[in-house]
């Protein structure tokens, strides 16, 4: 296929200037592209001036150095470099705001280059709502900017024969506080040169209360390119001479290659080549469509693969496996207090495997050139971590790490480790085999079968005792969760499927007893919000006042690859904990908000809980709602709250539902979320995250479940893995931001989603007196719960 007229494969001259700019912003250069791909150092042009830091093609990427983070040109433009990526969550915009504010330069002068192993510092992965804590922390971008600003003040003082404290800065001009004619610009001080300075942990960043760009709803830098259709996603990357690859996966979990009949694709259009490495099989062709056709024709004989547990008995199976245990809290008096309790409560909560299900199936382009120790590889990827991917891809390809460059290009929203990493390996293995750049975009079935590391299923058993006043006196949590693989790192490419197929081992879960905890850490939110979090003689680390608390987790071997899916573990645990507190509140006949407040000690969590209740016009009373009929359509409200990761964002959410008790169909009518993530960088950006989190959380709670039959995953498309779509009843979503300019910035992306499922289950209980303890809340499960209600 060849265009007779029109543009050729990647002809940047046909692109609009904004498209080229977006592409360059992603770390590419026009010239680099036209010259052909390879481990090029881009010559980024800022205001027409090549930055000195890059002129040599050897940018430092050592995060302890100021020059790694920021460069200022003679024309006063500022380029910052960061290892925190953009996935539509808006953090690229926040980073622009941070640079403008911390340096006191106009926002328009700032460009931020993100995530490229040749250009940007190693900041691990962009995940876990850790971007704000990292970039505003003592080793991140803000500290580098503060160091740079203080250095420029010192330089200006020398130049102007004043002292730094006699100076002020406005719009990138440092001047005497009393005589603005005594002035010098950043560009004049350092433009085109480098700082040669180590990050100073004593440099004092601006007080958030004085921010003028941060804290405002600056529109997202990426949205115009997206609505004009010009934004270049990784799915749009095309490089000269590029071929298209398509992996051919085992039809069942754990199947192995018996034989590959290459003759079966001989003569098909597109110069089809077959690539086999252990159990990794792929085809490469000139065109994507040709590769897809060839992959269907390729005759591969696979072994059957081992039997895996039946879906219907998964949760029982999980309780019977060898486990790796850990204890978060282990008060010695839990059994005694449970035994002495006036009333004891017990419940089990079940959560299925779920997928990220990115809108765009995962895609990457890899260009492996040469052989042996001098071979190089460039990978264009929407990975959450360019460095971990570089290191693991180097191992996969047998190349020295410095010879591999990973360039981040935004993909569709990922919500965790979707197929972005493993598809890079597909492209890289095929590129290495054929000696040409290869692009791979998964099919929907590739993505949903094993292309991503899915969110694990959970079983949570909870037991609690209350005294004769209904106050909780002991809380006992025990969970079973599945795990296999995870994020790849330098030594474990086998954590994701492509490398595992190619022969790299996936570390197994090694059964082990729990050690006694020495400090309280609630990263997985296994401990409820109502626990005091007392470990040893340490001060309480939790947000509640229940001191008699035991929290024990069991990890078992999963048959499917698993990994972080938005709010990993925290979402499953919060569904359990926040449903259970509601069950107890109802049993002791106290309003769900009031009952929570009786057990909370953390002022900020109390505030967000009250803020959500107030915004929702919370009707203070005991659940279930008095007067609701036992048939027909009824309504109810539920609440849930959590301190995400134990220290990274306070949130609460109220759900209002309407349920038809005859059909079991439940619709969420309204979701009201509140959140305190410290000093807020971009209120509208945060609302966007909260709104999306609320609806995605509702979708996961009500619809989503990975399905399998025999040892074959069957939920391989949007019909068999239903999610909340347009046309489904859309709730009103309201957001309340509790902004605390005096508090450290916390994560914002995963708070809201964490508490949605419990709020909905609690609302269903309020409406009907029926309790949902298993996600997803399908009409069949609602009907079953209605049948069981007292």
């Amino acid at each position: 296929m060849k265009p007779v007229n029109g543009s050729s494969n990647l002809n940047l001259s046909t692109w609009t200037p904004d498209a080229v700019q977006a592409f360059e912003k992603a770390g590419f250069s026009r010239r680099g592209f036209l010259r052909g791909a390879g481990a090029l150092i881009v010559g980024f042009m800022a205001g027409g001036e090549k930055l000195a830091a890059q002129a040599t093609g050897t940018r430092v990427t050592d995060g302890t150095q100021v020059d790694t983070w920021v460069a200022i040109a003679q024309d006063e433009s500022v380029v910052a470099y960061s290892g925190k990526c953009e996935f539509g969550q808006g953090f690229l915009t926040v980073q622009h705001q941070l640079v403008a504010d911390e340096l006191n330069v106009p926002y328009e002068r700032v460009k931020v280059i993100i995530c490229d192993t040749a250009l940007t510092p190693d900041q691990g992965t962009t995940s876990g709502s850790q971007s704000h804590p990292a970039e505003f922390g003592t080793a991140g971008l803000r500290q580098a900017l503060a160091t740079a600003r203080e250095q420029m003040f010192r330089m200006a003082a020398t130049r102007l024969s004043l002292t730094p404290d006699q100076l002020m800065v406005k719009d990138g001009v440092i001047m005497s506080k009393t005589d603005s004619t005594k002035r010098v610009t950043y560009g004049q001080l350092i433009g085109g040169s480098t700082f040669k300075l180590t990050l100073d942990t004593k440099a004092i960043p601006k007080d958030a209360a004085t921010y003028t760009v941060l804290g405002t709803s600056v529109p997202r830098v990426d949205i115009p390119g997206k609505v004009f259709g010009k934004h270049q996603y990784v799915q749009n990357v095309r490089v000269p001479g590029m071929l298209h690859g398509k992996p051919v996966r085992p039809p069942t979990i754990g199947a192995k290659v018996v034989s590959v009949n290459e003759a079966s694709v001989k003569g098909l259009p597109g110069n089809v080549k077959v690539v086999v490495k252990n159990d990794f099989v792929g085809v490469v062709a000139d065109r994507e469509w040709q590769a897809l056709q060839a992959s269907k024709e390729l005759d591969v004989t696979w072994s059957d693969g081992p039997a895996i547990p039946d879906q219907a008995t998964l949760y029982d199976y999980m309780r019977k496996q060898p486990t790796r245990d850990s204890l978060i809290v282990n008060a010695s008096d839990v059994d005694r207090n449970l035994a002495a309790a006036a009333r004891q409560f017990k419940a089990t909560y079940l959560h299925p495997y779920q997928i990220h299900g990115s809108m765009g199936s995962s895609c990457a382009v890899a260009d492996v050139q040469g052989t042996g120790a001098t071979a190089t590889a460039t990978i264009w990827s929407s990975t959450q971590g360019v460095y971990p991917q570089r290191d693991s891809a180097a191992l996969l390809l047998g190349l020295p790490r410095p010879n591999v460059r990973v360039v981040f290009v935004e993909g569709s929203g990922c919500y965790g480790i979707n197929g972005a990493d493993t598809v890079c390996y597909d492209a890289a293995l095929m590129s290495q085999a054929v000696g040409k750049p290869v692009r791979v975009q998964y099919t929907r079935a590739d993505e949903m079968t094993d292309g991503e590391n899915i969110g694990p299923a959970f079983v949570v058993d909870l037991t609690a005792g209350v005294d004769d006043k209904g106050q909780i006196i002991a809380w006992d949590y025990e969970s079973w969760a599945l795990s296999k693989g995870g994020r790849p790192n330098a030594t474990t490419p086998g954590n994701i499927i492509t490398a595992a197929l190619a022969g790299f081992p996936t570390p197994a879960i090694v059964p082990a007893a729990a050690n006694s905890p020495t400090t309280f850490g609630n990263n997985g939110n296994a401990a409820s919000s109502y626990g005091a979090g007392v470990v040893g003689n340490n001060a309480p680390g939790g947000t509640g006042n229940v001191r008699s608390e035991r929290v024990k987790t069991h990890t078992i071997q999963s048959m499917f690859f698993t990994g972080p899916l938005r709010s990993p573990n925290r979402l499953q645990n919060t569904f359990a904990n926040e449903s259970f507190i509601d069950e107890i509140a109802a049993a002791v006949k106290v309003d769900p908000v009031q009952y929570r407040l009786r057990h909370l000690s953390d002022a900020r969590l109390i505030d967000v809980l009250n803020a959500a209740a107030k915004a929702a016009n919370w009707d203070t009373r005991v659940s279930p709602k008095p007067g609701n009929a036992k048939t027909g359509v009824v309504t109810g409200r539920g609440i849930s709250c959590v301190l995400y990761e134990g220290d990274n964002g306070y949130c609460a959410i109220v759900a209002e539902v309407e349920v038809d008790q005859d059909s079991g169909v439940m619709n969420v009518k309204r979701l009201i979320a509140s959140q305190d993530s410290g000093a807020i960088s971009n209120p509208d950006g945060m609302r966007n995250q909260m709104e999306g989190g609320a609806l995605q959380g509702m979708s996961r709670a009500m619809k989503e479940e990975v399905k399998w039959s025999g040892n074959r995953i069957t939920s391989v498309d949007w019909v068999r893995f239903p999610v909340f779509k347009f046309g489904d009843a859309l709730p009103v979503v309201e957001t309340v931001i509790v902004n605390r300019t005096d508090k450290l910035q916390m994560g914002a992306g995963e708070c809201t989603i964490t508490s949605v499922a419990a709020a909905i289950a609690n609302a269903l209980y309020d409406a009907t007196g029926a309790r949902l303890r298993q996600v997803p809340f399908t009409p069949a499960r609602v009907l079953a719960a209605l049948k069981e209600r007292a």
Partner: protein
């Protein structure tokens, strides 16, 4: 292989292609048009939506030969940063996206419906988008953007 002519965003093209190849691949790979995107290839999500003679279709399951002699419009064809379409303005105004990968479907189905039903209620707009997926679940903003576009159409 066959030579097939059609226009995209007003510009004529003549491509030599497998006539059974989906239109989406020709747009993305041959013509460098990146607005419509591959999401599922199964007509289940809408990421690949284009207008074919003014009507929204899923280009992932529409073979290129069906476009022969017709006009294709993608979201790039609506407007430019210098001369934005009111629909694009509305989406920017409402910041109606997270990753934005789904936008072709939401914007083009939404536009087609609102253009002929500028007085539509929110329910009716949602109904017109039935079946489309936005996995970032930015639904509320997108509906707000389409409602504000409806106001512009009326004005």
């Amino acid at each position: 292989m066959a030579a097939i002519s059609f226009s995209v965003n007003g510009r004529p093209y003549n491509v030599d292609t497998d006539p059974d190849c989906p239109l989406l691949y020709v747009l993305n790979d041959e013509l460098g048009i990146s607005g419509p995107k591959f999401g599922c290839g199964l007509a289940q999500c809408g990421a690949c939506t284009v207008l074919l003679d003014g009507q929204p279709i899923r280009s992932c399951t529409t073979v290129v030969s069906e476009a022969a002699g017709l006009g294709v419009t993608t979201i790039e064809g609506l407007g430019t940063p210098e001369n934005p379409h009111p629909l694009q303005q509305a989406f920017i105004q409402e910041q109606a996206a997270q990753c934005g990968y789904c936008l072709s479907g939401i914007m083009l189905y939404g536009k087609t419906f609102v253009d002929s039903n500028p007085n539509a209620t929110q329910e009716e707009i949602l109904d017109a988008l039935s079946g489309l997926i936005c996995r970032c679940h930015a639904h509320n903003r997108m509906v707000r953007a389409l409602q504000s576009y409806a106001k512009a159409v009326k004005a």
